[in-house]
């Protein structure tokens, strides 16, 4: 079991900055994130886009903001569980929390910070009522092992790069590949679009455009789809697999079932004091929380993280006195003992 002082769920900019503020109070942090890299949305969605409202940065690319944060928190040696989603939380007899990921990794800490932003990124599911009944029974939102499609009839739905790329890849493996898209145009890399057009001419990809998958049929597993064509009406397409590829969207996910007070997809916190949730010891900071007047800004999240850390200190060190100190005065001492501080003025008397 991984043990730490503050377990941070979500390694976006706010979760990362919490490591710095915690480090100043000699508290160690471990971060969990469903994505494979730290940085959250800044890394995953818009690394090359500029942000203009970070104080003292007239302009900074989201990716650079994350890079700078990583450098800033490095002295406090954060550890990470990446590519795993925090699924369950359990209060132990000693008052601390055990958080387990979807891959079974266990974490233990007296304080938990939820800095989950908009949630974890999950595949977008088409609005077909019966689709959940066929998940893992012929419906896959992510292709993990292309071999399962060998010799099978596959219908891919979507018009972006992943739909095109997988249609091309599976054309050689599957018995039959159909690609369904709502328009005639595809917006992928030019190479991929041309390749699909070529394979379609050769009869290796069955292209069904101006169409949408509306129904899934089968007994216990997918056996056919009902595809609605704009002009030709309903088409019944026999197949073994249906792979809808419509990108990712953020979902609050399992955190929503942790017994936290939720309002409009966000966790209600006490912003009059400490950004605590209704579960003592669990705080929520950044875009994931809500309170009257909440602004979903990175700069607001930095503030919330700083406040929450002071109160986490009181929980972890009950009764131990401390007062916030200025880094300019005291410098920053990393966990390896290395100290960064202001240069001392040279004092010399004139004789």
């Amino acid at each position: 079991m991984i043990k730490t002082d503050i377990l941070i769920i979500g390694a976006g900019p706010v979760g990362m900055f919490a490591v710095f503020e915690a480090g100043l109070l000699k508290l160690r942090c471990h971060l969990i994130d469903a994505l494979a890299e730290p940085g959250g949305q800044c890394t995953e969605i818009y690394p090359k886009k500029p942000i203009y409202d970070i104080p003292a940065y007239p302009e900074i690319l989201a990716g650079d903001l994350v890079k700078n944060l990583a450098t800033q928190i490095a002295p406090f040696q954060p550890s990470y569980t990446l590519g795993e989603r925090a699924d369950t939380i359990e209060k132990l007899a000693d008052g601390s929390f055990k958080v387990t990921t979807n891959k079974g990794t266990e974490h233990n800490a007296p304080v938990v910070f939820i800095a989950g932003g908009l949630g974890s990124f999950e595949p977008r599911k088409p609005p077909i009522k019966e689709i959940v009944d066929f998940e893992d029974c012929g419906v896959e939102y992510i292709i993990k092992d292309p071999e399962i499609y060998r010799g099978k009839k596959v219908v891919i739905s979507g018009g972006g790069d992943s739909a095109l790329d997988w249609a091309i890849f599976l054309a050689d493996i599957a018995d039959e590949v159909s690609l369904v898209h709502r328009r005639k145009d595809f917006r992928g890399a030019l190479d991929s679009v041309e390749k699909v057009a070529e394979l379609s001419k050769e009869g290796k990809i069955n292209l069904i455009t101006d169409a949408e998958v509306k129904e899934i049929h089968g007994e216990g597993k997918v056996s056919s789809l009902l595809i609605q064509h704009k002009t030709e009406g309903a088409i019944v397409k026999e197949c073994d697999h249906f792979v809808p590829l419509f990108g990712l969207s953020p979902k609050l996910g399992p955190i929503g079932d942790w017994g936290l007070e939720i309002e409009k997809n966000a966790i209600v916190v006490n912003n009059a004091l400490d950004y605590s949730t209704n579960i003592p010891g669990v705080f929520a900071i950044g875009d994931v929380n809500t309170y009257p007047g909440k602004l979903k800004l990175i700069l607001s999240g930095f503030h919330e993280a700083t406040i929450a850390v002071q109160f986490a200190y009181n929980i972890i060190n009950p009764g131990k006195r401390y007062v916030m100190k200025y880094t300019t005065v005291n410098g920053v001492t990393g966990f390896d003992g290395e100290k960064k501080e202001a240069k001392k003025a040279v004092v010399k008397s004139i004789v």
């Binding site: 599911k125 009522k129 018009g159 917006r187």
Partner: protein
């Protein structure tokens, strides 16, 4: 006054006649949020989530869709010929009298 009128039908069919400023650089998604209509605007207006998808029902001449908007509509659901992303429609004087219907939320 530089306000325009925008008529928005929400997902329950309730019609909202809104006054929209044109001098604050706002878009239709932001207008919905400003009036607390149930539009998430998850991505903040980068044409990356489609939570502000709407159907334009008046015959206003609208700016062409950009690549990002087309890309996103390809990944969205309930898309019709008159679908647009609210965050890509900037409120200008030309859009006075605009009428839109919010598209269903895309979660099952």
């Amino acid at each position: 006054m530089s306000d325009i009128k925008v008529k928005i039908t929400d997902r329950e069919g309730v019609v909202h006649n809104l006054e929209a400023p044109t001098d604050m650089g706002m878009n239709l998604m932001e207008l919905c949020k400003a009036y607390e209509l149930p539009v998430e605007g998850t991505c903040g207006g980068m044409a990356m989530c489609a939570s502000c998808q709407c159907y334009v029902t008046s015959d206003h001449e609208l700016p062409e869709k950009g690549d990002a908007e087309e890309d996103m509509l390809d990944q969205a659901f309930f898309v019709e010929d008159n679908s647009r992303l609210g965050c890509q429609l900037h409120l200008t004087l030309e859009l006075d009298g605009l009428e839109i219907v919010l598209a269903p939320e895309s979660d099952v």
